[in-house]
Amino acid sequence: MPAPHSLKTTNDIVQNGAIYRTTGLTKVYGEGPAAVHALRGVNLEIPTGELVVLLGPSGSGKSTLLNILGGIDRGSDGDVFFQDNALSEMDDRGLTAYRRAHVGFVFQFYNLMPSLTAQENVELVAEISPAPMKAIDALDLVDLGDRANHFPSELSGGEQQRVAIARAIAKKPTVLFCDEPTGALDSKTGVTVLKALQKLNKELGATTLVITHAAATAAMADRVVHFADGDIREVIENQIPVTADKISW
């Protein structure tokens, strides 16, 4: 299935230039005295290809930012650029096309289709992508090639999350969004998921944004963005990221 809108591909931009840029991004829920300011004028640049971890307490605005960057929500004010496309200017169809062509999502609760096998869940996304990898190859990348014919109800939580990652990468996304990917998993299983993410970031070169509560995760990131009260507290560049198997929480 062709994407309804065509966007510039990764090759169009300069390597290591910023893949995302926000200026004065705000998000307000509600009106008047009941209004909640989820983002208060966020300015951020994310370089292409990095693994970025967004850290912060609940309600600090990191999920809101991820939603806006991922094209499933809009800011109230300010600009958001993906490469040199203004996401803040796109209509609903444009955002759908953007997600379809460029974005891979990994959800906290996996969000696999219960009626499809692992392989079919991956194919579900591959079918609507212009140049996907083979579903079985994607599963092999997360070491689940032998579980391809299992339904979600037959897989453990960690396995389900890895299927979700395989599904996200099968389309060869420009950027991979992970919202609390280990949030529903125990520490040991969580590490296998993080390892998979790190490996894919290296091998596929997809910019990877990970939201997490677990501060320990920050050690594996190229860049750590600390959130508080709807704005960025600080951005730390990590010169020597550790490998995921060194992490525990």
Binding site: I72, S115, S153
Partner: protein, 780 residues
């Protein structure tokens, strides 16, 4: 609870409408039945509607004393009942009329008329008549106007004293027709003096009407009457049940009952199903809340009562809307009834008995629908209830489905797997949509059958323009005279004779129709539209008549002729024919005349006329003294079409709306539930880059699949219903042909698919508004 209701308001409304449709039908048909029955009973009683009739040729008045002495007779009156032709100044078409003698001074007359306007007859003034009000209204006649009528060959002019209604003519059917037309059939009541003079019946009567005492053996009484009156040219006595107007009225009541009995359960059945899936779903989403309540110490009964209250609110809503709707439809219907059934009053009163029943029915339906779901709710242990339900388990299925899924894309696989994972629910949904389609199919077939019947009756069997009957059988020179009228293209004689058929102990009062060997205008047609072969000396029976007489081809029937020399004939049965209207028996005119020893006689003729010259023809016919009745077939045809459109047509339109309500209700509920159950998945699909249309496909593909599966199911349900209804509504008066037209199925399929599309569009709105961030949250 109100919050729960508000949350599922769309679905609750859909269920309320389905229940309401069933209840409305029930209230309408049963209320109409009660109204008709009670009005009929009161009218019959107050106006002493006769229990039996005995027409004769001529009997002396003193014979009445003997009749009154018969076992079971309470009161008896002799009267003169004759045919005539009314001539109206403004209209040239002749109008058939019945003229009846009436004694305005009688203390408690049988078949007393109900005076609506003007005054009763006066015995002193023999030039006055009373006229049936609907006829007067159709021609703008009022008391004081004069009216000319040809009786027994001579024209008389009368002054209209009053306009009346009569229990004998609630359904005033002209002779030889099967549809009423107020303007084309007149009934007049004249003084005995005038009638005796007009029909040469001085000191005599030609019909006895009587009332019976309670517990009278009717068969015995009829036999006694026939025996006593045989020397006076008795045609055959009959009881109230066989009186034309009463017969149509009771048939109508039976049809209303059938409608109520068949339709109400269909609607309530669908409502039970809908409530079941909605409540099951609700319980499912409220597991946690149920667990909490139970953990706090609420008993199973408390929890059960909560959900029962919930469904009872819906049931009550359905009952009230349905009852109100039924009242409205009932009033609408009673307005239509009053056009065809002439009662002095017909009130469709709010029946609180039916309100009670409606509440009871819909509460029962709701409780039944909710039962299993609520039982599931109360049987959850608090600990289990507070955990989210286990993820649904799917399997790859058998080799066939593996092959099938291989060629499908993933969204289509999701659809198929969901349907096959819950086959019972899918089957019920299919059945629900099928039921809606069945109703539409049945209604459409019903319509086709009526058209078919009309077409056969007026275009294939009877192709004449005018049908004339003679006062008594005439020689064929009269036919020659008729053919010579300017404007008459062709005149085809027929012979008809009233007979009592007998086979062993079974008897049936009917008629033999004698037709030419090669009829052109009025042809005996069987159900396959083939010409009935009536050659030779035998008689051909309609299957219905053969059934009544328990007689078969090859047997000999005894026919006691009730006119002329009153011979008793033995006639071999040479054929059977499936008739559509009435219970006819055919012979050739020649054979019948030979048996009657009255060669070359005709009872009347079918005419083909030049419509441009019809007024000339009508004028001439009116001036021919021996013509007793004239029926204009073309007018009858148009009239019948009009009636069908007004009466049953209205009913059908109502049913059509109701079947759309059911189909849309089932589909909408199915779609809403699917949406709620899967909105997390749907939001995920959207986040993964599926467009709104692609996401919608996952939802509607399933509904569309079920709707398509419902098409053959609905066709079968429709066929079954139609066969049942056609049989239940067929009477001795007319057979409803079980006609199947593919267009009926196509029409119903369109109804189903359009309803599905509408319901789909309503839920697509939800998909449009789907909050993508839901995908990021935990499953409910």
């Amino acid at each position: 609870m109100l919050r729960d209701l508000w949350r599922i308001k769309g679905q609750a409304l859909a269920i309320i409408f389905v229940i309401a449709a069933g209840i409305a039908l029930f209230v309408m048909s049963s209320g109409m039945m009660i109204a008709l029955e009670e009005t009929m009973r009161a009218y019959y009683e107050r106006h002493r509607f006769a229990d039996a009739y005995a027409p004769v040729k001529r009997a002396p008045n003193h014979l009445l004393a003997d009749i009154r002495n018969l076992d079971g007779v309470s009161t008896a009156e002799g009267r003169i009942n004759g045919g005539g032709l009314v001539t109206l100044e403004k209209a040239s078409a002749p109008v058939s009329a019945r003229v009846i003698s009436y004694d305005p001074d009688a203390a408690s007359p049988i078949n007393a008329v109900y005076l609506v306007e003007g005054r009763m007859l006066r015995t002193t003034q023999s030039d006055e008549i009373m006229l049936l009000k609907p006829f007067a209204d159709a021609h703008n006649l009022t008391p004081g106007d004069s009216i000319a009528i040809t009786m027994n060959g001579a024209q008389h002019t009368f002054i209209i004293a009053g306009l009346v209604l009569s229990p004998e003519f609630i359904y005033a059917l002209p002779p030889g027709e099967f549809v009423v037309d107020a303007g084309r059939f007149a009934v007049l009541w004249a003084s005995e003096e005038a009638m005796e003079a007009a029909y040469d019946l001085d000191g005599a009567f030609n019909e006895v009407i009587l009332t019976t005492s309670r517990n009278t053996n009717e068969d015995g009484l009829i036999d006694d009457l026939d025996r006593l009156l045989a020397p006076y040219g008795a045609v055959g006595a009959f009881v109230r049940a066989d009186q034309v107007s009463n017969k149509y009225l009771t048939e109508e009541l039976k049809q209303l009952e059938t409608m109520g009995v068949v339709m109400t359960p269909i609607f309530l059945g669908v409502a039970i199903f809908l409530l079941n899936i909605v409540i099951t779903r609700l319980v499912h989403t409220e597991r946690e809340q149920i667990g909490l309540l139970k953990a706090f110490g609420y008993s199973n009964n408390d929890v059960g009562a909560h959900y029962l209250k919930f469904v009872l609110v819906i049931a009550l809503g359905g009952a009230l809307v349905g009852w109100g709707g039924g009242q409205y439809l009932g009033r609408l219907l009673s307005g239509i009834y009053q056009k065809y059934f002439h009662f002095p009053f017909l009130l469709f009163n709010p029946e609180f008995r039916t309100l009670g029943l409606a509440v009871l029915f819909s509460a029962a339906a709701a409780a039944l629908g909710a039962f299993s779901a609520v039982r599931g709710a109360v049987s959850l242990s608090p600990a289990v209830a507070m955990r989210p339900p286990a993820p649904p388990h799917f399997t790859r299925g058998n080799a066939f489905s593996k092959t099938l899924t291989r060629i499908l894309d993933q969204p289509s696989r999701m659809i198929l797997r969901r349907v096959s994972r819950q086959p019972f629910r899918a089957a019920l949904t299919t059945l629900g949509i099928g039921a809606a389609m069945g109703l539409a199919v049945m209604m459409r077939f019903n319509m086709n059958a009526t058209d078919y019947m009309l077409d056969i009756s007026f275009n294939i069997a009877d192709r004449s323009d005018v049908f004339v009957t003679f006062a008594e059988p005439l020689s064929e020179t009269t036919i020659y005279e008729l053919s010579n009228i300017e404007g008459v293209i062709y005149a085809e004689p027929f012979r008809a004779s009233a007979v009592m058929f007998r086979n062993d102990r079974i008897e049936h009062l009917g008629a033999v129709t004698g037709l030419p060997e090669n009829p052109v205008l009025n042809r005996a047609i069987d159900a396959n539209l083939a010409l009935v072969d009536i050659r030779g000396d035998g008689i051909v029976f309609s299957e219905q008549l053969a059934d009544i007489l328990e007689i078969a081809v090859g047997d000999t029937v005894i026919a006691e002729v009730r006119e002329g020399r009153r011979p008793t004939l033995e006639i071999p049965v040479t054929g059977l024919v499936e008739a559509m209207i009435g219970t006819p028996a055919y012979m050739t005119s020649d054979a019948l005349n030979k048996k009657l020893k009255e060669p070359n006689r005709a009872s009347g003729a079918y005419l083909k006329i030049d419509m441009a010259q019809r007024n000339k023809v009508y004028d001439k016919l009116k001036s021919m003294p021996l013509i007793a009745g004239v029926s204009l077939r073309r007018e009858a045809y148009y009239n019948f079409q009009k009636m069908i459109d007004e009466g049953p047509g209205t009913f059908r339109r109502i049913m059509m709306v109701f079947s759309i309500v059911i189909a849309a209700g089932v589909v909408y509920n199915g779609a809403r539930i699917a949406f709620i159950e899967r909105h997390h998945d749907l939001a995920s699909l959207r986040v993964l880059g599926f467009t709104k249309i692609e996401t919608g496909y996952v939802l509607f593909g399933e509904l569309a699949l079920l709707a398509i599966l419902a098409l053959p199911v609905g066709s079968l349900i429709g066929l079954g219903l139609w066969v049942y209804i056609a049989d239940a509504l067929s009477t001795e008066l007319y057979q409803i042909p079980v006609v199947f037209k593919e267009s009926g199925l196509g029409y119903a399929a369109i109804v189903v698919l359009v309803s599905t599309a509408i319901a789909g569009a309503l839920v697509q709105r939800d998909i449009m508004k789907l909050d993508l961030a839901t995908a990021l949250k935990a499953r409910e």
